[in-house]
Every structure is written in C-alpha cells, then in structure tokens.
Symmetry: C2
Subunit: 405 residues, 2 copies
Amino acid sequence: MIASLTWRCSAELRVGLDADCGLDAKRLWRYGFIGTIQISLSPQRRPIAIGQDRTLIAELKDAATRRRRVTLIDIARHAGVSKSTVSLVLQSSSLVKEETRQRVRRSIDELGYVYNRSAANLRQARSNMVGMVINDLANPFFAELAVGIERVFQTAGYVPFIANSAENPWRQAEVLRSLREQGVAGLIVCPSRGTPRDAFKDLNRDGVPVVLAMRRVLGAKAASVIPDNQRGGRKATEHLLSLGHRRIAFLGGYRDTFAHAERSGGYRLALEAANIDVDPELIVVGPPNREGGEAALGEVMALSDTPTAVLCFNDVVAFGVLSGLKVRGLSAGSDFAVVGFDDVADARYASPALTTVAVDSGGLGERAAQTVLRMIHGDARPEEAIGDVHLVIRESCGAKAREAA
Amino acid sequence: MIASLTWRCSAELRVGLDADCGLDAKRLWRYGFIGTIQISLSPQRRPIAIGQDRTLIAELKDAATRRRRVTLIDIARHAGVSKSTVSLVLQSSSLVKEETRQRVRRSIDELGYVYNRSAANLRQARSNMVGMVINDLANPFFAELAVGIERVFQTAGYVPFIANSAENPWRQAEVLRSLREQGVAGLIVCPSRGTPRDAFKDLNRDGVPVVLAMRRVLGAKAASVIPDNQRGGRKATEHLLSLGHRRIAFLGGYRDTFAHAERSGGYRLALEAANIDVDPELIVVGPPNREGGEAALGEVMALSDTPTAVLCFNDVVAFGVLSGLKVRGLSAGSDFAVVGFDDVADARYASPALTTVAVDSGGLGERAAQTVLRMIHGDARPEEAIGDVHLVIRESCGAKAREAA
DNA sequence: CTGTAGACTTGGAACGTTCTAATTTTCTGG
DNA sequence: CCAGAAAATTAGAACGTTCCAAGTCTACAG
C-alpha cells in the first residue's frame, strides 16, 4: 500500500516522469512499494530521492536522468566501435579507416551528438576559444577593431568571443577571470582605463597569451599592438600649423590613458617644434565620446582667447565638436578647423567630412590576432608592434576649401 | 653510464625540470640509468618520454607535469579538509563553519587557485555563461542592444559573451555550435538573414533557452523580443503623409528578413489607408548600411517620377540617404523628407537631425535578457514580446521647419 | 607455416569538479 | 552520561572526453 507520495518538482519533470517511466500507483504497487518517497528536484533537474525502496528509487532516478545528452560513448555503441575510435574520427585523424569514419559520422548525425568541449578541456588544456575584451563597444572604432580580429581567428579555426569591459577595471577583472575559467587559448585586450599592472598576472601564470591592443599597460607582461599615436598627433598638429593656425586645442580623452599621453605628446612636440608654447588651458580632458567633445569645445570657446583649430582625442570626440560648432553657428572647415583621430567609417560621412588620423583599425586587429596565434603556437616572445598612421585630409580642417580658393 | 640525453623542449620547461626535479648526470646516475632518454613536449606541454628506464621516465614525467594548475584537491590538502568542503566553500554554501570557510579561503589565496569551469560544467550542466549572437556588430544599433543585454546579465551574475555572425547563416551556425559546446546557460540571438528554421533545434534539444531579438525566425522554437515594426512603419509613413507627401519611398534592407516585411508592411498599410497605390518602384531593397542607403536613393532619384520623401529600413540606411542627398545638392528637411528607423544614438547628431522611429534598443535588450533569465530558471514558456515604438520628430522630415514657418 | 611490418582499433586511466549519501562531530535536554 | 537532533564534514562515484600503450587484424616475404 502506498502510504504517501510527495512530489516536489517542476511540472515538466512530472510529465517527463509520468510519461517516460510511467510512475503511477500501479507501478509502485508492482514494485511492492510500501512507504514514503520524496522526490525533489533542484533547479537543474537533478533528482533527489529519499525513501525506502532502493530499487524503485534507482529506477526513478535513472528514468529522470534518462533524458541526458548523447555522448561519444553512445555514438561508439551505435556505430559498433570503441569510444577511442569515435574520438579519433572527431579529430579527423588519419588513423581510422574511411569506411569506419563514415559509419561513425552517420551515427553522429543520426543521434544528434554534440561535442562536449568542457570534457575535452578537462582532459587536454588546449581549447579553441579566444577572447576579446573591448573597453567600449559603443565606440565604432572598437567595433571595427573587433571585426578585424574576428576575421583572422575565424579562418584559423578559433572561435572568438567578445566581452565588453565598459571602461571599468573591476568589470574587466571579472570578465578576465571568467575567460580564464572558461579556459581561453588566448586573449586580446583593449585595457580599460585604470587597469592595474598585475591585471594579467594570473593569465600569465597559466601561460595564456595576452595581447594588448590600442593601449599599453605599464609593467604588464604582454605583447602589444598599438598605433603610432605620437606620430599621429604630431602629423595632425603639423598639418593644422601649416594651415596657419596658431591656437590649437587638444580636446577629449583622459590624461591617465596611454593613448591620451601619446597623442597629446605628439601635439606638444609639433607645437614646440614650431616655437609655440603649449597653453594648458587648450588641453581639455573629458570622456572620449560625443558629449565629452561637445563639453570640451564649450570649455575652450569660453576662454578669452579662443582657439581656431582643435585636434580631438578621437573621432567620436570630433563628432561632438562638430555638433557643438553647429550649435554655435560656426562652420568647421571655414571658421574653424577640426581634426579627429582613428578614421572610423563614419568620419568620411560627417558634415563636413572629418579630417582625421587614420590608424587602420582592421589592420591593427589582424596584427593583434596574428600575434596571439603565434603565441598560442609556442612563440613566447611578447613583441610590441607599432602600427603606422597617416593623415586623411577631408573637409573639416579647411585645407580643401583653401585649395579651392 | 649515460649514453645520450636528448632534449626537445621549450627553454622554459628545461629550466623547470633542471630547477624543480634536479635532473642532472648525478641524479641519472643515482637512478642507475643506462641508455637513451628522449623527452619531447607537445606545444601543450605534455611530456612524452621514450627510453629504457621506466622508473626514471615516470619520475621525469611527473616532474614535468608537476607545474600543473592548482586544483581543489591541492587546496583541500593545504587547508586540511576534504575536497567536498572546499567545493562547498566555493559555492558559498551555508553548510560550512565560518572558521573552516576562512581557512579554505586563505589557502585559496595562498596557492593562487583558479576555478576550473570546464570540470564543473562536466559534472553539472549549469554554467554561468550566456551568449549573445549579433548579426552585425558594426551597426551601432546592435552594439547598443548588446550593451543593454549585458547590463542585465552582469547584475544577475551571468557572464555574457558576444559573438558576431556578420549576417552569415553559416557562420552563425558555427558560432551557435561553439556556444553549445561551451555549455552556455542561455542565448540571445539576433538571427542573421537566411537563418533556417531548425537553426536552434540542437539547442532546443539540450534545453538551452533561446531568445530571438529584433528578428523572427518562422517556425523556430524560441521566445522572441521584437519591436513593433509594423506600427513603427505605419506611424512614420502616416507622419510623412500628414506633411503632404504623396510619393514616399521605402529604402534599404532585404526582403527576406522579417524586419523588412513588417516595417514595409506598416508603410503599405498607411499608404493604403490614405488611398495611395503602393508603387513597387519606390521600394528598393539593398544592404542595410550606409552604402546601401546611398545606392537605394540613387535608384529612386533616377526614376522619372521621383519621390519627395523616404522611409528608411533603419537609421544607418537613412544616414546613407542623407549623404546621398547632400551629394545631389538637396537638403533633407526642406527639399526632401527622410525618416529612419531604430533611433540610434547618432540619429540626433546627424545633419539634419534624423526623424526616426525609436525602438528603445536598451529596453528591448533588457527585456530579452530578462526572458532568458526566466527561462534559465525553469519558466519554459517561450513568450513573444513586442516592444513599443514611437516616432521621434527631428529635422530631417521637415516638420519642424514647417512649424517654424 | 612463421615472422614482421603496417594499418587500424581499443581498454582504461586520467582530468577537476559536483553531488549524494553517509559519517562524524557538536549541541541539547533530560 | 546518554539519546537524539542538528551541524559539519567527507568518501567516492559520476561527468565526457583524450591520450597512451597495447592490442588485433591483414598482407606479404621467407
């Protein structure tokens, strides 16, 4: 006689049990069950059975678990070979006979087998996952960079995953930890602002190759692929000087990033070479986005001696500056010169089209990816690559207008 | 006597062996070794030893492998508890005594332990990884969506990874397979064009919740979070009609996507309601990017009876149209009306500022993420959510200019 | 028939966790 | 000092792969 039967489980499993293993009074009776069974399911659907009838409980457990994933062993059984052989087939080894290979492949298709990468990772450290940690996905520049990186990894048989650190070192640490737990084969990181020098310590210890893109981290043990920020800043400033500008501002970006130091460093160098004193009031820092650009412009335009030209930390800041000029009734390219940095896709579509320092995001991304691949394959030298930059002269600097005149 | 000793290994490991296990002639002698040893290391640093002296080889192998990662068992040994206890500590279970917990934590810090998620995944299906598959990361709209999604998952303790399918179904399949192998807990997919209805079959079988964002896939078993495209298209068209336009084009996007069908459907509906015949020449399809927009504009402007207004498939297409108008010496907002779709961040900064249908990307993303979370936690109902849309009137449609006049 | 080389195949031990069921320790009230 | 409950701990079996070492075939020469 059934004394009591307590269910604590999701509706789905109840159905699953009822249907699949036909748990009902009759069946319990058939098993000669007398007593209490309690089946409870943790959220992950693993059954816990407490009761007196071992056989029944085992049965129930088995039934509840029956809906498990198809494994390599199932394939082996189905194809009539050993699991080792199936494993070899999966690795497209040349050791298995063509005929066997096909039989196994057929079984795989038939049973809908899914390779379990976790299990593989557990056994062999190598994985085919590479990570990309981007500090600001909303900035199209980084999106372009990510696309370049992806292309390389994709063709090399690695699967790239992107994570966004949102310029937050704490979150970046979280993401890096997670990637490490996941067992990434390699990493490309555009480090967020304020990344501590030991951020990659753990990864280094595990021997995971790390390549820094776009930004350096002082003291970090990692390769880096970085555009020639200083030369870019210098070239852009020299161009503005050659157009006759003498009061040139440098807007946007935070002073504690390397990119800012280098880009504004080039700007200083050019000014000094032209015997112009650098006016600290003309260097305005701020968030490297549109709002930051607009705000920074406001700040320099409020000065008694306003600039006639600005070099922006990046294109997005420059877009903000262009908006700001429009609001003020000024026209970039004639009344005022604006130069950006990065040459994102939108730069040529801005109005006026943005003169900017092209850093070849796609090329840098590919370079970074190649470096990671080389490091994965054993070349341990953490090299430092500097990407070439060049000035793309469009309309916002006024050079075209002057030429035409 | 030592006959020969061949090394084929990375410099790092040689140091490791020399230092760690003191491999030298004396030691070999002590082991009474006579013969040849060859130790070679595969790139993953697994030692392969070939030689005569089993004992020594075993020793060497052990030594070479000694630099293995710190495991939970090492922690247990160090803290003087069982591995089960350590596991419980890692899961911050309330079952362990505070004192023990602290001792274990200390050991973890001291030994620099790294949680191995692969091993955990192997044992329990649950993982804290969620995936986001985006069809076009270069489109700022999807980047914004991704950011909204990320926020929710982050606070819920899940780690979101983004993968780009680049509007390529084959690549999307690749990415989905990889995510499945990785054991994701849930997925948000912006399906690429041409996604087959059974693209999520395998994921469904594994019980991985899938939420489609922005686009439907006919016949797919998945929840979806989609903006009210039709209403948006209709509202925008009605707005243009109310401004007196009678020849309104619909530009960009591919006919085989649901978004296109719905958005252009709303456009048709509005026209029909106003008793205007839909002129098929005014519906031009093309890639949903700037270039596509510019090209599509070129096509309708080459007609004998050119339109006076366009509704664009999305904002990026609209940007292309704005560029195209500028090239033609036309001015959006006065000579011509342009309306976009999505309301990306850049829309208000376009010149003229873009009138567009706002779909609240952040909100949609959050909604999608919430749905995935609910499904992960057992609520199996695949719901279909329709996001509200509203028209944001700026300058490109000419309404503001008319009001001012 | 034997030996052996080569081509395939395979059993079984890892890998580092989690989970269950059980055991041990501690606490409580008599 | 004991029984029983509660709290804390733990042994050991999974999980699904890979890799090594050791097979079993087949073919062919002697």
